[in-house]
Symmetry: C2
Subunit: 432 residues, 2 copies
């Protein structure tokens, strides 16, 4: 018989306990920050009807990246490639009952069929944070403030910049000023998005193919390096007005003020790939040169819930993947050493002490301590090594003389000290 492979499916990860502990540490921080802003966690099924993504997720995801199957009832089901459509479905389902604004987050695993590479896998986890049903700019400002608090929670605020743009401003520029069709606007948008990857030559060719003249391309270049003040003067429109107002709010939140924490900047090259954005869009970048990539992105989507009924509700949200975040934390040495997961090791030198060892372990556990026993009888040295290997802080040891007197030896493995303690006082002694 041929053996089965022990490797996980290409582009996915096994989380052995040490890895899961790190993932869990990261998720805990995410949950803490979201909770501190009053956001509540939700979850949805892993499989959704194919149509849910066909509607809005964009052609690349639907045609090339979706994992899907027919179920035995002939329904076409997809493994979720993103969370926003499920979230919109759930909000639409209780649109009249939910208190507004809806402040929600989730940390789902998502699947896309991609060529695995650094920062991009087939299965990844992604923090999704959304606010729906609030005045757009105030919600956008709160969400950006939360995003920045998140990265500060990880100690990474010195290494990032959040770059903000507005889709309406771009519509004004591409549609009204440059006279591009919707189709050509999309091509130009994608070329600008891809520019760092495809290089200058291909970028210029893509623009020219989309009907952008050389003169327009030069204008575009100068637009890209404009300050928000200049853009507001040169392009008075809903988009530039929103940007000005948003940045005023971000100054009040203290994250766009001039000075050392000015981490949120206007960047007119930010486009965002997904088709459903309609206003503010943003990305967070790792600013270290060797790692210059978007760590997360998001934006405003008007009326996504409109796919599910006549009610309207707009929102703003972002997604933050665990793979790029962990790369970021490792690059900048922001992952702390994980703490041990065992408090007490209760040894088992002979079969006769098993009953007593069990009782001690039970009492310690009921007092909230994490306790392991070796299960099998073994020598003093071997068992002490096991205790150390498990990172236990204390070991409970049975000496013959002490045992006869109803006592044990408690060894503090951190301090390398030990003392004799009566059976009934062990919990108190170890809890300190």
């Amino acid at each position: 018989m041929a053996f089965l492979s022990t490797q996980p499916y290409k582009g996915t990860r096994d989380f052995y306990p040490d890895d899961l502990q790190i993932r869990d540490w990261i998720f805990s921080k995410m949950r803490e920050v979201c909770a501190s802003f009053g956001y509540r966690e939700y979850d949805a099924p892993m499989l959704e009807p194919f149509e849910l993504y066909a509607a809005k997720s964009g052609e690349e995801i639907v045609n090339q990246q979706l994992y899907w199957m027919m179920d035995k009832g002939d329904r076409k089901m997809a493994v979720r490639p993103e969370m926003t459509p499920s979230m919109a479905r759930m909000v639409a389902g209780k649109i009249h009952e939910l208190p507004k604004p809806v402040r929600w987050f989730s940390i789902p695993n998502l699947w896309r069929y991609e060529r695995p590479q650094r920062g991009r896998l087939r299965e990844h986890w992604q923090l999704n944070v959304d606010v729906l049903g609030a005045d757009p700019l105030y919600a956008d400002a709160e969400l950006l403030t939360l995003a920045f608090s998140m990265i500060r929670k990880f100690g990474g605020e010195a290494h990032v910049s959040i770059r903000v743009n507005n889709r309406r401003l771009m519509d004004e520029l591409f549609g009204k000023r440059m006279g591009l069709s919707a189709e050509n606007t999309l091509k130009v948008t994608k070329a600008i998005d891809a520019r760092p990857k495809i290089g200058e030559e291909k970028y210029a060719a893509a623009l020219s193919e989309a009907g952008v003249t050389d003169a327009q391309r030069k204008d575009l270049e100068s637009f890209f390096s404009s300050s928000l003040e200049k853009v507001a003067t040169d392009f008075p429109c809903a988009g530039s007005e929103e940007l000005v107002k948003l940045f005023r709010l971000l100054e009040e939140s203290g994250i766009a003020a001039s000075g050392s924490e000015a981490k949120v900047v206007f960047d007119p090259t930010i486009m965002r790939g997904l088709d459903y954005y309609t206003g503010t869009v943003f990305e967070m970048f790792d600013t270290s040169p060797e790692n210059n990539r978007a760590m997360f992105g998001g934006g405003r989507y008007d009326n996504l819930v409109g796919l599910f009924g006549k009610d309207k509700l707009s929102g703003v949200g972002f997604g933050m993947g665990d793979v790029t975040l962990r790369d970021f934390l490792e690059t900048h040495s922001l992952l702390p050493k994980m703490p041990g997961t065992v408090d007490v090791f209760v040894s088992l030198p002979k079969e006769e002490s098993r009953g007593q060892a069990e009782r001690i372990a039970r009492d310690l556990r009921e007092a909230g301590l994490r306790v392991i026993t070796p299960l099998e009888v073994g020598g003093f040295g071997t068992q002490l090594k096991q205790a150390v290997k498990h990172g236990a802080r204390h070991a409970v040891l049975f000496g013959d003389a002490e045992f006869a007197e109803g006592k044990v030896l408690i060894k503090n493995l951190a301090l390398n000290s030990q003392e004799t303690v009566a059976f009934g006082e062990i919990v108190e002694k170890i809890r300190g």
Copy 2:
């Protein structure tokens, strides 16, 4: 345009925040108990190669219940219907590095194509706990002790019994004593498993079809009501010896002792459906008459990792589904009222107080409190209602006179009291 449905896929659940809070409360208890026994959490990808299940998961799961698809690289991939095969794969992958015994747990979501009914859905979460590489009976005893501690943690110990049997004992009975072929043994096993569902008539017919004579069926009936002592005397074999030894260990753990906590009992009708069990098997039952179903089950599997290579390692494990557990907790009123998720509501009466409100909210968040603001300016009464709706304990209110003096009103919504506090003392006052 036809609207998309807001309903989740048949047999699955949306977890709105109130539901997710309960799920999270349940999972936290599970994690706490597992950690108190030194078990560590792991996770594996949601999709695995189809062959992983074809090997051992049993015909019903593989042929009728598996969600699978061909990926774009022509690999046959399945959505996991159970966690044990992934766990065995991971253990096999690091068999020489992992410290023994391997004490692991996970709370994966699992998928099976079934007819949805009470206690059974297409997507459910399942706590999986396993010990590998330890002396079988000691490991079996620890696992059962952990399982019992789990149900005690939920306050449900008065409503359950854990019923234990041994596959080797059944092999002795069916094979050696009754002379049944392996195929007929399987049929009889399934009939005994299904007996409460199919009724006496069909049960008798199934046994007779499997070559069991009427006399043998009577003997079987008397076997089913035998005490462990009688079975040990009448059927001396490896299986009955293991059971006697296991129960002695469980008495030392205090969960099989006579008296009020005698919750673990010998039950020779416990069979377990899965094919890979080889020794101790067990199920936990809700003993209330209206809800008499298995809440979880498990057993010993010898050398599951043998599918992946030449090394051998045996283990024992159990799985506990979230759907039946939640039913159980609700039936017995064991779910507490969930606590509020907001500590402080910072009001926003006018645009001019926004900057100050933001600073107060930021300071409170940095002090570890969960804070929401209404985002939009609004009247006193409306905003106070919002604060109450969110379950906030405190509301920060801006009165004109107080604001001019650099002060706010802090309302304690639980006590319905209020006091005037300077901007700089708000955190201290609210943290108490």
